[in-house]
């Protein structure tokens, strides 16, 4: 029963209708403004930054052509390599928790009643508030001086703790910041997916006597493949490229424990004014991002081939 529904709702992506097979011109007109904008304001600057990455740039003034020397310098820099590790740790933990929390919230609040609408609005507030202000407020709350941690942990017999002064708890703090802000984003995307699943499929499953758990694993999850893919890719790209959390909440510290690639790049480019080096890092980061997307998509293709 359910399988038939899957085919009509989700499976049409592969089929093409003759009616919509139009001439070669019209689709290009449809995508042209998009391509034009991306070419001018994204690809051209990207090309320029790639070009600049081959130069020694000091004081924002382009100096000698140095070839790949900036790239060699990056990969021989211990701190850059450490920032790659930090980026992966932060991104994976944040992704895991944000996705779980976001999915739970989406399932909880998917029904459109007054309570859900209200709760969704509340959960959305951290996402819509300026990241800068959000992280500043969170820093205030998490700092030892606020006394909140002592208040919560004191009764448990845990001695006074400097969350932001210790490498591992500082990492936990920025992961928390990420989850706090972006669970709403995951919730929204996943909820849009949940809502696109026709009710009759669930009704059919109910008639067939399927348990809630069974329905979730066998109907909801398979039908949610695309929304889940979109959510994961978007969140991961977002976490890998995050700057504000690190810059505002932890300043990349302590001892570099939360300095990710972007913060390292930002410091090199804007604080040290070493733009050539910064551009080289950003190009490496770009390749890193591409690799992430490729891995996720391949994982999905592989898992998609397993029989339902």
């Amino acid at each position: 029963m359910a399988e038939a529904g899957v085919a009509t709702v989700v499976g049409t992506g592969g089929r093409r209708s003759k009616l919509f097979r139009v001439g070669e011109v019209k689709p290009y007109l449809f995508v042209l403004p998009f391509i034009g904008l991306e070419a001018l304001f994204l690809l051209l600057p990207l090309g320029m930054s790639l070009y600049y990455s081959l130069f020694d740039i000091k004081y924002l003034i382009v100096g000698d052509f140095v070839g790949l020397q900036n790239y060699f310098e990056i990969f021989s820099n211990r701190r850059f390599l450490a920032s790659v590790g930090v980026t992966m740790t932060f991104s994976l933990f944040s992704l895991f928790f944000t996705f779980i929390v976001g999915f739970a919230l989406a399932l909880w609040l998917v029904k459109d009643n007054g309570h859900s609408v209200f709760m969704r609005a509340i959960i959305l507030v951290p996402y819509v508030i300026s990241m800068l202000v959000g992280s500043l407020l969170l820093k205030w709350v998490l700092s030892q001086d606020a006394g909140l941690t002592d208040l919560l942990l004191g009764p448990l017999g845990i001695p006074s703790l400097s969350i932001l002064g210790d490498p591992s708890t500082a990492m936990a703090a920025i992961v928390y910041n990420g989850v706090w802000r972006d669970s709403a984003f995951a919730m929204m995307l996943l909820m849009a997916g949940l809502k696109s699943i026709p009710l009759h499929i669930y009704q059919a499953a109910k008639v067939d006597g399927a348990s809630k758990l069974y329905t979730f694993w066998r109907i909801t999850l398979p039908l949610m493949r695309m929304p889940i893919l979109i959510t994961l890719v978007r969140l991961l790209l977002y976490f890998v490229n995050s700057l504000t959390f690190q810059l505002v909440l932890t300043g990349g510290g302590p001892a570099g424990a939360t300095t990710n690639i972007v913060l390292h790049m930002y410091r090199s480019a804007f604080e040290d004014s070493l733009l050539g080096l910064g551009n080289a890092m950003s190009f490496v980061l770009f390749l890193f991002n591409l690799a992430i997307i490729a891995v996720i998509i391949i994982l999905f293709r592989v898992s998609g081939r397993t029989p339902k």
């Binding site: 070009y51 004081y59 924002l60 820093k139 700092s143 030892q144 002064g165 932890t250 302590p254 570099g256």
Partner: protein, 425 residues
């Protein structure tokens, strides 16, 4: 292939660069970028408005247009605007003058202000600020508000436990004072040690003291991984290990430490003297009876530790079409009339001897400014012109963090700080 690609890009680049790039020059209009907004109500901003109004009244036909900027990105944006040939005539800067000069974005003031400087030399205070703004004999900026990172302390807390400011003369006395405050249940020392927005610390001050007052050697060369470097860094890390400074310090920025001090959570904090006014207005306890400003400690009683001086200053865009008018206005901002506005209305350290003794400058914030002014004159060391020093403080903080949290030896940590600093020059 690679070469072809690079050449294509270069062509595109050149083509886009030739597209626009028309400098707009309206005769009689002088544009200025500053972090102050003359429409606002703080003392400094009112002072700027007054200075502009006075100048425009004396010079009909000249229009001073201020485009307020975000202070943190102003210098970089100015250099980029200079490359695009559309920068304002006058730019304010503090510690980034090197970037402006080295990028060629600002021009020498000698052709315009040499005579003015000669006439006013006797009255102008803070000679070091002028030295700091002079490159190869060319004056590249006119200093307006000098300031320095000094030690703020709570007079009331000190009195409670029988301490005086003399106890802060040496590092031993400093540590003992912090201990005494802590033992009495009073708040102690707030030291910001984050890599973000770094400023002078115990370690950098002690190092400068042991290194003839300089952070960097001639030619902007850093060499921190030495015995005196280790001595200075260890002085600071030992104070954290022994609990005189909270471990949370490694996460605190200058702003965080300052907010805690305003909130009454500290008895000693290093801070820029320019924030004295904000302290009085945003806390319910601070007044000239309860807060004082002293120079940094040193290892001996015969002198105080060095402080890093800096100044907000104004420079002239090298592409300006109005250099005469613009430089004339710059000189007016540092004239006796301008200096009076900055000192009295703006509550800044007085620029001129003739202003310093005005009767208006007494009590409240002016008392703190007086103390800061004396400390700056006695211990202020302005960085060597052209050296990129401000991020070096961050390198030292990173070294302290590495020693405390990553178990790296002080020498190795300082070697990394040395490399980071030298890479930037």
């Amino acid at each position: 292939m690679g070469r072809y690609y690079a050449r294509t890009l270069a062509t595109v680049l050149a083509a886009t660069c030739s597209l626009g790039a028309i400098a707009q020059a309206n005769a009689g209009t002088v544009t200025m970028w500053t972090f102050l907004n003359p429409e606002n109500t703080s003392g400094r901003e009112v002072a700027l408005r007054n200075v502009i109004e006075k100048y425009e009244a004396n010079h009909p036909g000249v229009d001073i247009v201020v485009e307020p900027q975000d202070w943190a990105t102003m210098t970089e944006k100015f250099v980029l605007s200079h490359s695009a040939n559309r920068a304002p005539d006058i730019i304010w800067s503090a510690q980034d003058l090197g970037l402006l000069v080295n990028s060629g974005a600002v021009t020498s003031l000698n052709p315009y202000l040499a005579d003015w400087l000669a006439e006013n030399d006797d009255d102008l205070l803070f000679d070091n600020a002028y030295d700091n703004a002079t490159y190869d004999g060319e004056l590249m900026a006119v200093p307006l508000f000098p300031y320095s990172v000094l030690v703020f302390y709570r007079k009331d807390h000190f009195a409670q436990v029988g301490l005086t400011e003399d106890d802060l003369d040496t590092w031993d006395g400093f540590a003992a004072a912090v201990k005494k405050l802590q033992d009495a249940g009073l708040p102690g020392l707030l030291l910001p040690l984050s890599e973000d927005k770094p400023s002078s610390t115990i370690a950098t001050t002690a190092y400068m003291d042991l290194n003839d007052g300089h952070l960097l050697a001639e030619g902007c060369v850093a060499d921190f991984a030495t015995d005196i470097g280790v001595q200075a860094l260890t002085l600071q890390t030992d104070m954290i290990k022994s609990g005189l400074i909270s471990q949370e310090a490694v996460a605190r920025t200058n702003d965080d430490a300052w907010d805690l001090f305003i909130g009454g959570r500290g008895s000693i904090v290093p801070q820029t003297s320019a924030r004295a006014g904000a302290l009085l207005s945003s806390s319910d306890w601070a007044n000239e009876e309860t807060v004082g400003i002293v120079p940094w400690p040193s290892f001996t009683t015969d002198h105080h530790g060095p402080s890093v001086g800096a100044s907000w200053q104004v420079s002239l865009w090298s592409g300006s079409q109005n250099k005469e008018e613009a430089s004339d206005f710059m000189a007016f901002m540092a004239s006796e009339e301008g200096a009076k506005e900055w000192a009295v209305t703006g509550e800044q350290l007085p620029l001129r001897a003739s202003v310093a003794n005005l009767p208006e400058l007494s009590g409240g914030v002016f008392a703190l400014n007086q103390a800061a002014s004396e400390a700056l004159n006695e211990t202020g060391r302005f960085p060597r012109p052209g050296c990129a020093e401000s991020s070096t403080m961050g390198d030292w903080n990173r070294a302290a963090q590495d020693v405390l949290l990553n178990g790296i030896s002080p020498v190795d940590a300082l070697q990394e700080a040395t490399d980071s600093t030298n890479r930037r020059q």
